[in-house]
């Protein structure tokens, strides 16, 4: 799903290299030859990219300016979809609900995953335990959602049976407005924390041991070592993990679709659910496309801000 890349060379060193090569003329010729070769190799991937990403994206942007019910032809209506969005209470509600979900999901998931990664790195060295942490991620999203939906059921769910047995009132986890989003967020934290921990764990392993040795020689406390060595050196990986998980989190859909379906009332109608309902429920593909474009822009902005301010493409290791 993701690849971990880490650039350890600084830009200056990279820029110096071509200079040491041959005279400029031949190098340019060769580069032109390289370009042809490169294009040849890129070509198969380009077909896929153009057919399955570029064309649908451009078409989606086009459809966002139309009224389109999928059966029939789209009619151009300019920016009407976008102006309608401004006054659409359900859209703003969906954005609010999604933000609430992302906050809960990312907050808990990142902190728990970091803790697990540290445990994997320092304490639990057995492959079995490390593997077990990843188990929830190996189960399909919809299955996880259905499993929890059943376990958290108001009447027959085991969780409510336990709560009842302890003498506390039953909780309508998916049924009440207050609980729906926190419950969905918790289910997804449970599924993704092992995977996120694995990513962070990989980052921890790339921190050279000698830095820790020097720290312990200087008598740094474990807390101090964590905040002054582990966290700064882990930053590029953490940024990557955050960018990927935040984008994934904004796109939450399956868990909502198989459990609450957006309800009760509008309490868990996240933006993807709203897009789906507009498009496939109400055949309003133009408006749904406009919503998707807005979501795309938001995600691009979020990723950009994260990369920019957390300096995700630089490392302190050099």
């Amino acid at each position: 799903m993701t690849t971990l890349t880490k650039q350890q060379q600084n830009p200056a060193a990279r820029a110096r290299r071509p200079k040491a090569a041959q005279p400029a003329r031949t190098s340019r010729l060769r580069r032109l030859g390289d370009l042809k070769m490169a294009l040849l190799f890129i070509f198969p991937a380009m077909i896929g990219f153009v057919l399955f990403y570029l064309v649908p994206t451009i078409r989606g942007v086009y459809l966002s300016f139309t009224e389109y019910s999928i059966l029939g032809d789209p009619t151009w209506i300019g920016i009407k979809n976008y102006t309608a969005m401004l006054g659409d209470e359900l859209f703003w509600n969906a954005m609010g609900v999604t933000l609430q979900y992302v906050g809960l999901n990312i907050g808990f998931q990142t902190v728990i995953a970091l803790g697990l990664a540290l445990l994997m790195h320092r304490v639990a060295k057995s492959t079995f335990i490390r593997g077990a942490l990843l188990l929830p991620f190996l189960v399909a999203n919809v299955i996880v959602a259905l499993l929890w939906f059943w376990m958290l059921d108001y009447q027959i769910g085991i969780v409510n049976e336990i709560i009842n047995w302890m003498g506390l009132p039953r909780i309508a986890f998916f049924g009440s407005e207050q609980w729906a989003i926190p419950t969905i967020a918790a289910v997804n934290v449970w599924r993704h924390m092992g995977y996120t921990a694995l990513l962070i764990f990989a980052g921890l392993q790339s921190i050279p041991n000698h830095v820790y040795e020097v720290a312990s020689l200087d008598g740094a406390s474990p807390t101090r070592t964590f905040w002054s060595i582990t966290m700064p050196l882990l930053r590029p990986v953490m940024v990557l993990v955050l960018v990927v998980t935040v984008i994934g989190s904004f796109q939450v859909f399956d868990t909502v679709a198989v459990t609450t379906g957006g309800g009760p009332i509008n309490a868990s109608r996240v933006i993807q659910m709203y897009i789906y309902q507009k498009a496939f429920g109400e055949s309003d593909f133009g408006y749904a496309s406009a919503l998707s474009v807005i979501l795309f822009l938001i995600l691009a902005l979020v990723a950009f801000v994260q990369m920019k301010f957390l300096k995700g493409n630089e490392s302190d290791l050099d």
Partner: protein
């Protein structure tokens, strides 16, 4: 050289994928080949498989492939099929969905076939064939079955509460105090210490058995939830039916009905809306958590299948107008306009709507077929199984049915009414808030 081959192959692939989107090809006029047929109710699958086998026996050139899909997947898969050109040739259609498909020209008009093959429309139960005539005056389906709503109650619970079958069959209701219907519900509600809902000291926060079960808020139709009550006040959902363009959710008669119904939750006679998420009304009844359920006759089989629970049926209560009421919903089979085999498809639809097939369906005692004589056979088949279905047939005999509200933009109306009704039923907003929702709904038609 290699490169040019690659480019050519890519171009060919693109051309292929583009042409695949086109879908439509020349339609054959001969009635032969394989046709696809979809339905959503798994309980009815065996009956229709039998019909398909009989049909192929009589028409060896035509094979029918039946696919069953659950209600939720059914409609999205169908819509996607219309676009992709892979929709079934013939499918079971619903009154809330067909207006949009007809408007988008996805359904084949059956008028020519009805005229040419001499289909007797008056053999169907009165009112059903007219439901499938679209706004443009064309016929888009042949009726296959009908359904009405009734009270499903736990006989053992009614017995121990001292309510006889006769009393249950003669309940009355009004929106101000709920009449004997509410009294029965209250009396059938029992809290954890054994106190009944109408006794002093009843603890509404610790209810063991609810008098009335709750499936959901019923959105804008309330087919099985509240429509049988609101209709007895003289209220109708739209200004005219079918093809109404003005909705009446702002009518005090409607809002009073909903307020009374939602009030049962506050009184502790009906479960909270939040507890219904993911729950099944029927299963909670089977587990003895509710004494009465209001639901449709298509679930008779399921309610009869619960072990250790004897389910009895009573007609819906009489309302302020002194009459009962039940929404009358009917399904039909439609032919997709894009079918490559219209002749065979129409032939299959005609067979589905014929006495031969509907008698087969009747013999399985799962639903009431649309043809009156077959419907009577179904009632006998139910009787042979020991089920008295008079609670459902009485509406047809006495003419106390009213039609499912057929209107354009049903999905959008639902998108507004579902959250609005949920909000009222969960106690978050008063019933008067439905006026605002009604304005939104009516704006759709401006």
């Amino acid at each position: 050289m290699k490169k040019t081959i690659g480019v050519a192959a890519a171009a060919a692939a693109i051309a292929l994928s583009l042409s695949a989107c086109g879908g439509g090809s020349t339609a054959s006029t001969e009635a032969k080949g394989e046709i696809n047929y979809w339905l959503w109710d798994a309980n009815q699958l065996p009956a229709y498989q039998q019909c398909a086998d009989d049909f192929t026996k009589a028409n060896p050139d035509i094979k029918v492939k039946i696919t069953q899909r659950g209600w939720d997947d059914y409609w999205t898969t169908l819509t996607n099929g219309f676009v992709a050109g892979t929709a079934p040739d013939v499918f079971t259609n619903h009154l809330s969905k067909y207006p949009e498909y007809a408007a988008k020209k996805q359904l084949l008009s059956l008028d020519d076939a009805v005229a040419k093959d001499g289909i007797k429309l008056d053999s169907y139960t009165k009112g059903l064939p007219e439901l499938w005539v679209g706004q443009d005056g064309k016929r888009y389906g042949l009726p296959k079955d009908w359904d009405t709503v009734g009270l499903f109650y736990n006989k053992a619970m009614a017995d121990s509460a001292g309510l006889t079958a006769e009393q249950m069959a003669n309940l009355d209701w009004n929106p101000s105090d709920g009449g004997s219907y509410e009294k029965a519900i209250a009396h059938l509600t029992v809290d954890k210490s054994g106190k009944r809902g109408d006794e002093a000291g009843f603890d509404k926060n610790n209810v063991a058995v609810y008098g009335l079960g709750l499936a959901g808020s019923g959105s804008g139709q309330g087919q099985t939830e509240w429509s049988f009550l609101s209709a007895t006040t003289g209220w109708t959902a739209t200004d005219k039916n079918p093809w109404g363009t003005k909705f009446n959710y702002d009518d005090p008669k409607f809002q009073e009905t909903i307020a009374w119904w939602a009030g049962l939750i506050e009184k502790g006679y009906m479960p909270k809306l939040e507890t219904t998420v993911g729950a099944s009304l029927a299963d909670n009844f089977g587990a003895g958590k509710a004494a009465i359920n209001t639901t449709g006759d298509w679930l008779i089989g399921q309610y009869k299948s619960y072990k250790g629970v004897e389910t009895a049926f009573a007609p819906t209560p009489k309302g302020p107008d002194g009459k009962r009421a039940s929404m009358f919903n009917g399904l039909a089979d439609s032919v997709w306009a894009g079918t490559k085999n219209p002749a065979a498809s129409v032939k299959w639809v005609e067979y589905l709507g014929s006495t031969a097939c509907q008698d087969v369906v009747a013999s399985k005692a799962v639903v009431f077929p649309a043809i009156t004589s077959s419907s009577e056979k179904a009632a006998e088949a139910f009787k042979a199984k020991g089920t008295d279905v008079s609670a459902f047939t009485t509406h047809v005999e006495e003419g106390t049915t009213f039609l499912f509200p057929i209107a354009d933009k049903a999905a959008k109306v639902d998108g507004i009414m579902k959250p609005a009704m949920d909000a009222v039923l969960s106690g978050k907003k008063p019933a008067s808030s439905l006026t605002e929702a009604n304005n939104q709904v009516n704006d759709l038609f401006k």
